[in-house]
């Protein structure tokens, strides 16, 4: 939204009012940035964000562990994760988001909007599934929605890119932001966090870790690294990396693949800690779980550019 200085102060005031109103509507998931947006645009943007929230959130909305997880196990850790997720949403809005933004406060509002859509979508689906009841303690209900709103808000934020016209309405500035080295690392982190969070609540993650021998773990590290490298640089995906000039294969590996894997396993460790999977575990067990969760996390890191 470009602000133009108006000579008349009253017109200025009206403009500001319209902008505030438009921003308020935007917080509820609208995609059009113009104050003159029609009701139809509003409805389309809203449904898009809802669609994204449900598409990205459905696997976890239908995961049993997520219903009871709530804030019950580690409230402080979960609240920290929710705060971090919000930060990631703000940054994602910088790099794409569901509407083009020019200022930081707009990103903040968009992230809030994505959260609002995520929360409403989560509550709606959980109610439809009959998982909520009036006798339920409020804290349990809130915990249930809070955990589910992490993937759904992420989906709402990505809705524009995935369900809208796509790359074309991404501004050059956003393009430049996400092309910088720090931007690349951030996108990898967002992708890793999202995909790892999608599998982490299930018991299967620890069970797989126990099933694997150390040799399986070593093989999985190699496989994760190879996939990460291949996904990002070798395969002809749209939105694939363009290798910076003068970067050989080794340099690319050191500058992108290796940090990408580091980001993936650190994100995995953080998520394992959030879910209390690291408590009372030995270093080898933690390393094993990091490798298991690091596999989806590296794929998430690799495809982040395609999704965001």
């Amino acid at each position: 939204m470009v602000e133009r200085r108006s000579s008349s102060s009253s017109r200025d005031l009206v403009q500001t009012g319209v902008r505030v109103l438009a921003k308020f509507m935007l917080t509820f998931g609208m995609s059009a940035a113009r104050p003159t947006a029609s009701n139809r645009d509003y409805a389309v943007g809203l449904s898009r964000a809802f669609g994204g929230a449900i598409i990205f959130g459905l696997p976890l909305l239908m995961t049993m562990e997520m219903w009871s997880l709530g804030l019950s196990i580690y409230p402080a850790r979960m609240i920290l994760f929710i705060a971090l997720n919000f930060l990631v949403l703000v940054m994602l809005s910088r790099f794409g988001g569901f509407e083009p933004t020019s200022t930081f406060s707009e990103d903040l509002l968009d992230a809030l909007g994505a959260y609002a859509v995520g929360i409403v979508a989560s509550a709606l689906v959980l109610c439809l599934f009959g998982l909520t009841s009036l006798e339920m303690p409020l804290a349990e209900f809130a915990g249930m929605i809070a955990v589910q709103s992490i993937p759904t808000s992420f989906g709402a934020m990505l809705a524009r890119k995935q369900l809208g016209n796509g790359e074309s309405d991404k501004t050059e500035e956003q393009e430049a932001r996400s092309n910088g080295y720090a931007g690349q690392l951030f996108l990898m982190l967002a992708g890793a966090l999202f995909l790892a969070f999608n599998v982490a609540p299930t018991e299967e993650v620890i069970l797989i870790g126990f099933k694997m021998t150390p040799w399986h773990s070593l093989a999985l590290i190699v496989a994760s690294l190879l996939m990460l490298h291949a996904f990002v640089f070798a395969l002809g995906f749209p939105g694939q990396e363009e290798a910076p000039a003068g970067y050989g294969t080794l340099r690319l590996f050191l500058a992108y693949t290796l940090p990408g894997y580091g980001v993936a396993v650190l994100a995995s460790l953080y998520i394992l800690w959030t879910f209390g999977r690291t408590d009372g575990a030995s270093m080898e067990t933690i390393a094993g779980s990091m490798i298991v969760l690091g596999f989806p996390a590296s794929i998430g890191a690799a495809i982040a550019r395609l999704v965001v």
Binding site: N179, G180, Y181, A182, L185, E203, I206, L207, F210, K211, T213, P214, W215, S217, L218, I221, E242, P244, A245, G246, L254, A255, T257, L258, P259, G260, Y261, G262, V263, V265, L266, G280, A281, S282, M283, E284, T285, I286, A287, G288, M290, I291, G294
Partner: protein, 133 residues
């Protein structure tokens, strides 16, 4: 990528930090897993050490919490724990608990419920059995 081409001469600091972090993570994982692989402990059976932590009254009895530590190599799944409340040589009451997983060199916590007051008695605990995950 325009800003990148001007930087081909020298490596940006962030790239060093990122590559270093990635390398450190990889070395940690390879080290921890490699050590485990070389020790070959995974074939050894689990060895469970049980310690009682605290006992406290509940609504209709008492609860005794315990920690199960696995000194052995393999992971114990569905670990069955039995606690006998002893009055001298006589068992007053027996309770059992099942723990999902106790990883090798890891610990897990649980609790046993008793109707009788365990505070002036001893609780004898032992692991009954497990399954491999």
């Amino acid at each position: 990528m325009n800003q990148r081409s001007s930087l081909t001469g020298h490596t940006p600091l962030l790239e060093w930090v990122a590559a270093g972090t990635g390398l450190a993570c990889l070395i940690f994982l390879l080290g921890a897993i490699g050590y485990d692989a070389l020790q070959g402990r995974a074939h050894l059976p689990p060895d469970i050490a049980l310690t009682t932590r605290a006992s406290s009254p509940t609504g209709n009895g008492y609860v005794v919490t315990f920690t199960a530590f696995n000194r052995g190599g393999g992971t114990a799944a569905a670990l069955e724990i039995e606690g006998r409340l002893m009055d001298g040589n006589r068992a007053v009451e027996t309770s059992t608990a099942t723990i999902d997983y106790v990883a090798s060199h890891g610990s897990a916590e649980g609790g046993l419920f008793f109707v009788n007051d365990p505070r002036n008695r001893t609780v004898e605990m032992r692991a009954l059995g497990f399954q491999t995950p």
